[in-house]
Subunit: 501 residues, 2 copies
Amino acid sequence: MNNINPLYTQYTNLLQKAADINYAAAVLGWDQEVYMPPKGAEFRGRQLATLASQAHEMLTSDAYGNLLNELSKLEGLTDSEKSNVRLSLEDYEKNKKLSPEFVEELSRQQSECFNAWIDARKKNDYSIFAPSLAKMIALKRKQAELYGYKAHPYDTLLDDYEKGATVAMLDPVFAGIKEQLPVLLAKIKAAPQVSNDCFHQNFPKQQQWDFGIEVLKRMGFDFEAGRQDYSEHPFTTSFSPADVRITTRVDEDNYASMLWSCIHEGGHGLYEQGLPGEQYGLPLGSAVSLGIHESQSRLWENCIGRGRDFWTCFYPKLQKYFPQQLRTVSLDTFYKACNRVEPSLIRTEADEVTYHFHVMIRYEIEKALIEGSLDIKDIPGKWNELYDKYLGIKPKDDKTGVLQDVHWSHGSFGYFPTYTLGSFYAAQFFHQAQKDVDGLQAQIVNGELAPLLHWLREKIHRHGRMYNSEELCEQVTGQKLDASYFMRYILDKYSGIYGIS
Amino acid sequence: MNNINPLYTQYTNLLQKAADINYAAAVLGWDQEVYMPPKGAEFRGRQLATLASQAHEMLTSDAYGNLLNELSKLEGLTDSEKSNVRLSLEDYEKNKKLSPEFVEELSRQQSECFNAWIDARKKNDYSIFAPSLAKMIALKRKQAELYGYKAHPYDTLLDDYEKGATVAMLDPVFAGIKEQLPVLLAKIKAAPQVSNDCFHQNFPKQQQWDFGIEVLKRMGFDFEAGRQDYSEHPFTTSFSPADVRITTRVDEDNYASMLWSCIHEGGHGLYEQGLPGEQYGLPLGSAVSLGIHESQSRLWENCIGRGRDFWTCFYPKLQKYFPQQLRTVSLDTFYKACNRVEPSLIRTEADEVTYHFHVMIRYEIEKALIEGSLDIKDIPGKWNELYDKYLGIKPKDDKTGVLQDVHWSHGSFGYFPTYTLGSFYAAQFFHQAQKDVDGLQAQIVNGELAPLLHWLREKIHRHGRMYNSEELCEQVTGQKLDASYFMRYILDKYSGIYGIS
């Protein structure tokens, strides 16, 4: 490692300085959601905009482009160095396609659109949001044109969150969901419903917090290199692999709210803590994609945290935290309550089975909006029609319908599908872990989660962006993403819970 | 305000962008002391260094210099605009003297030195801190050379915190202290000691916090534009006048620890909240100097918070928070306890009389370190010798001696003297407020602190850096800083408390 090429050093210096600025912006963003007093918002907005434009300027400068082009022709770099340069050049070329003026316009529209969404939600009135959303969609369509695309304009937006993902790849994934999940859902609906009453009791905040911390520690979350705080909407952010922040929320009358967010964000946090610190700020020190990130949170939340093995160890502990609430609730009842399936209107509260209809509906609407085949004013109609069709329910208002998610107000078109990809990757990875890790099930039953984390670190975390999602999936499991792993996982699990043949 | 010169707009845009970056660094600095997990320190150090060098680069660019020079020759600017340009040009010329490499090195050394100090304190071992401190002092001596000086290298460092302050100006101030305060201290020592036992009981954390918040609210601290958190060492920082952060600490067995830090930092916080938001990032939106900043904290802490008038209103409230602890303690006993004079080792816990010996000792050591007449290894010896000489006591270890303050680890040489200047300004300002504000004493007795805050806002806060310390003092009180106000204040107060003629 001592013969580092001076051009490569110049490159890492520049990229790591841009990372310093982006991580600084992440600290400001974290504080904004967690601790900032309300009047601080205005100046915080301009501070974040300045940091963003500073970093953007560094990463789109001609000098940086020339450096990358020179480096990409250079002999004698190590494989890691080559990967960093290749990925940085791809990022550079994509970034360059957007002018600073366009980036600024987009940023301004994001603020306007977010505020309109907040206002519309408060007043429960989509028509307040629609004009801003229309402008945002016009900008996103323009962005797709600027990026350039072969098959579908939406492909270029997907690529921002999941490099290489396309409509051509996702359509069959969602077709499979459309075909198979309704069959399972119909069977579940026909079976006797399981109760989740045990979650809906009074669970004091402090004990919820304490149990959450215990679980995070057992998962391997390093509290010397991270922390958990409260925020209105749980999220994970990181300022380096040595400083990863997760947040949670507490509803004292619904224990499910904190429990799943805590384990879910913990999974994201473990991925961030597992990225290689020596590649700080470089592609190999960064997460692959949102889909792979989500595979980590969902593997922990669903495959582990909603599994019987996990609760075999943790349920007696949980009962000690909440003796009054859970003394008479059996492990079996609790496990079933964790996995109750019920069509509902709110995506973030959905179970593992119906969740993917929520994503599919957004995916179809986004595609249509970006290709221009759906009008902004027709979104709520389309929304209600699709909810009725797939889940058999219809929102009674905009707040529980089309206004529920923040994503569109941020201009994050192409983001939602990564949630489903995450679940699918999670199932396939977890299947592989069971093959690779000797005695994994017994370890989980004993609350020994370190071997699983070790496997994730080795197979996924430590590589950063060395492989893209597809390559990583092949590396780890020997094959490309295959939806049948998720389908088998979900059929096995819910057949047991609902006594379906 | 509609005919703003386009050059002036260019200037404010640039300066406010630099402010965005510096305020971002302040958020990272705040988080570092308040919430950052320990392993985050290393990357945080480099992030802060990058932000510092980015801002420095903007503020030392030739383009900015040319712009300022052009503006300073321009006709037709308003008085405020002229002041901003003049002060910015002075800042620019000073900043230009430090190279970007030097600024970055200094910032990195600050992080290293801070971590070494933390470690040394934990292990109560100065030798762990000494090597980092030696590097820091070498850098500060280099800084003094780069700035250039006429009389004493320390002058240039003083100037960073208190524009215009010099050894030639401070030596007589401290000579006055050396002459007059020992006489008072001897009389106090000869008089019967007052008891502060009432502070040394068990005061539960939550009630301490709650009373602190009540006092801060009554002082006028706006919790919509700021917040209080815990940190090991209380401090104030701000990210705009609309987002001011103060911190405090709690010792459940010594109520004095939180009470004074809370009111003190509250005083700093009020100054920051009172700066004009429309001058964000510009000299007229910034505090005059550390001495003036400290005058605000000390006026609230000492002139108000340790005064009998204040407690006439607040003591019955305090008794309600702590009925068991304070029911049998009279207002007179409590007031005297607030003002017990006793030579002690820890600066931040010192009373108003002995406090200035602590500052003087640091001042003398700093001067010697910067002029090169004292070696790093001899600091503890010198420290102990001076404590023995002026206060008649010697620290038994490093933690209660030379390692007690964070300042040197930040490279803040020239900072300590502003504490004494602050007390002196506070006494002079408070004397003036009593003349200017009709019925001030009665208002304080009634817990009406708004008129005093209004006076401070009008006379001091709203001007930003329009006037320097000396000019401001003359503006407010009709004369330059005059140490006799402090001496009179302290003699009057302590003669009463200790029954000295």
